[in-house]
């Protein structure tokens, strides 16, 4: 009896559901569904006062279903409904040539290029500072407080200054934005790498000493490989805030191009649908960039024999 039952397991909807919830897809679907439902509810709730005002001024009788329908189809809603944002994304990503200034892909690329340039510069700066702090006693005592102080200045306050000053000496477009990204993202790299480069335990360092290894050899054969887990943790934070830096850097430039420009133009003209589309694009970019770092980390981990 039991063996028969085992031999032919019943494939039911319930079994599928159980399997989905054993993994990640089930819970994820529930969370996404909940967000969409809340979003629709919020759209109706937030847009309702304006609509009701309008109905009353025009002396129109209205029902809730009419209100809900209208709330999800406004041209300049307080909070656009998800499908409106999706339609906008479809129009500006798939429906527009990517060379057009109306294409979100074009704007995303503008932002991405300065994000990546700033990220690379910030990472290099962060590593160089960490190497200095770990190897030079004077830097260890003097540099770290300044590094920390640099991050207490609100980036929104300093970004326009950087743009104006650099614009005055002939740097416009990519470089000033990348510098703002660099300013934000060198910090986690420095902090992570100082810790990472100091991670080797006394035994591992003693071993190098018994071989009379040079400082250079100790760095490349011990400190650097020990620091990589810390580096990747920092890089994931750094690339996300590098994107934030690039967007912030696009706000004071007069908003010519980029995700930041889309946000600014959208808010000038009350184009909330456009703002949300740009926001979602930025979020998706951040997700992809962090995931790319995660992929790179797994690749490096596999080469370094990290236990899966």
């Amino acid at each position: 009896m039991t063996t028969e039952a085992l031999a032919t397991p019943p494939v039911s909807a319930r079994g599928l559901l159980a399997r989905a919830f054993a993994g990640r897809s089930g819970p994820l679907a529930v969370v996404i569904l909940a967000i969409i439902v809340l979003w629709y509810a919020g759209a109706v709730w937030l847009n309702a006062p304006v609509l009701i005002d309008g109905y009353e001024r025009r002396d129109v009788d209205w029902s809730f279903s009419q209100l809900a329908g209208d709330a999800m189809a406004m041209e300049r809603p307080i909070l656009p409904a998800p499908h409106q944002v999706v339609a906008e994304l479809d129009k500006t990503i798939l429906g527009t040539s990517i060379t057009s200034k109306r294409s979100l892909v074009y704007h995303a690329w503008v932002t991405l290029s300065s994000t990546l340039l700033g990220f690379v510069m910030g990472t290099l700066l962060g590593i160089v500072l960490a190497v200095g702090i770990v190897h030079v006693k004077t830097l260890d005592r003097s540099l770290l407080p300044w590094v920390i102080a640099s991050q207490t200045i609100p980036i929104l306050a300093i970004a326009p200054m950087i743009i104006v000053v650099l614009g005055n000496i002939g740097f416009t477009g990519l470089v000033p934005k990348a510098l703002i990204s660099m300013y934000l993202c060198f910090f986690p790299v420095t902090i992570g790498m100082v810790k990472g480069l100091r991670a080797p335990d006394p035994l591992q360092r003693d071993l190098m000493r018994t071989y009379s290894a040079s400082t250079n050899q100790v760095f490349w054969k011990l400190r650097w490989p020990s620091s990589l887990p810390f580096l990747f943790a920092s890089l994931k934070v750094a690339i996300a805030i590098s994107l934030v830096g690039a967007i912030v850097g696009e706000l004071p430039t007069g908003a010519q191009a980029g995700i930041g420009a889309r946000l600014l133009v959208g808010s000038y003209y009350g184009q909330t649908v456009q703002i949300w589309a740009a926001l979602l694009t930025a979020a998706a970019m951040a997700g992809l960039l962090v995931a790319a770092m995660g992929g790179l980390e797994r690749l490096v981990n596999r080469r370094m024999g990290v236990r899966a």
């Binding site: 591992q204 018994t210 071989y211």
Partner: protein
């Protein structure tokens, strides 16, 4: 009183020749004091010792007797605060810079991101050996410690005993004449330990290297050594040096013999004398 007797005995014991004669390590009135927040700690006090070429010398004693510290001074991982020490006729620092010794730590201290083979190659890379030579040596010394076929494994894929064997291969592969071992088998189970002890003894017999070995196991010290240095804590000092004239090609069975028991007894007496002095 008991200590005096032991001390007199040790002077007599220090005289006879072991090894092949030429002194490799000479220690004279060596002291080392660590300054800590709770006041000075006398890790080593007026230590006098000569280790000859080809000797297998064990330092034995309870925790805190300075045996590891003495080994670390020889390796230039610590500096003495008083007294003189020479390794191969020069200071420990000069000896270290000439890569005179291979050091095996209590833990394997393998680099987890390197394969077994690349861990063994680490000193060879640092010493600037060619890739072909590195490969050949790693293979030879992994074979010597019976780890052929594990070249491409990462350390976590090996048992503790295997990892310690890798670290021994790593200490041997650049062919130093002096091998310093700090309780290398302390963390291993007894069966693995016996096995590695026998392998180490065969290796010593075959290569004629000078070995300085720290342990707190009496049977291990007696089984391996040609000379046993008994140490005592607070302050860390040498209380007896015992010659161990068992044949070099001894096997584990020798532990059942009368000669073995006698030497073990004398080591135990020395340890007890040091201890009663402390109380």
């Amino acid at each position: 009183m008991a200590l005096e007797a032991v001390m007199r005995q040790s002077e007599a014991a220090a005289a006879p020749e072991t090894g092949t004669g030429k002194p490799v390590i000479q220690v004279e009135d060596l002291s080392l004091t660590f300054e800590t927040a709770d006041g000075p700690v006398y890790a080593l006090s007026e230590v006098k010792l000569t280790i000859d070429e080809g000797d297998f010398v064990s330092f034995i004693g309870p925790s805190g007797c300075g045996k590891t510290t003495l080994l670390r001074v020889i390796a230039d991982l610590e500096r003495q605060t008083a007294g003189r020490i020479s390794v191969n006729g020069v200071t420990p620092e000069e000896a270290r810079l000439k890569r005179a010794y291979g050091y095996v730590f209590q833990a394997p201290a393998l680099y987890p991101w390197r394969t077994v083979e690349r861990n063994v190659m680490l000193p060879l890379e640092i010493m600037g050996m060619s890739a072909a030579e590195r490969k050949e040596r790693a293979a030879r010394y992994l074979d010597l410690v019976n780890l052929k076929g594990f070249e491409k494994k990462f350390p976590w894929q090996l048992s503790g005993g295997m990892q310690q064997r890798v670290s021994i291969a790593r200490a041997l592969c650049f062919e130093p004449d002096l091998l310093l071992m700090d309780e290398p088998f302390g963390a291993l189970d007894e069966i693995t330990r016996d096995h590695l002890n026998e392998q180490l003894l065969r290796l010593w017999e075959r290569t004629g290297k000078t070995v300085v070995f720290v342990t707190h196991s009496i049977p291990e010290a007696v089984f391996l050594s040609s000379k046993i240095v008994v140490m005592s804590p607070r302050p860390g000092r040498i209380i007896d040096v015992i010659d161990c004239k068992l044949p070099r090609d001894r096997t584990l069975d020798i532990r059942e013999s009368q000669a073995f028991a006698e030497i073990a007894h004398r080591v135990r007496e020395g340890l007890r004398a040091g201890h009663s002095y402390d109380d």
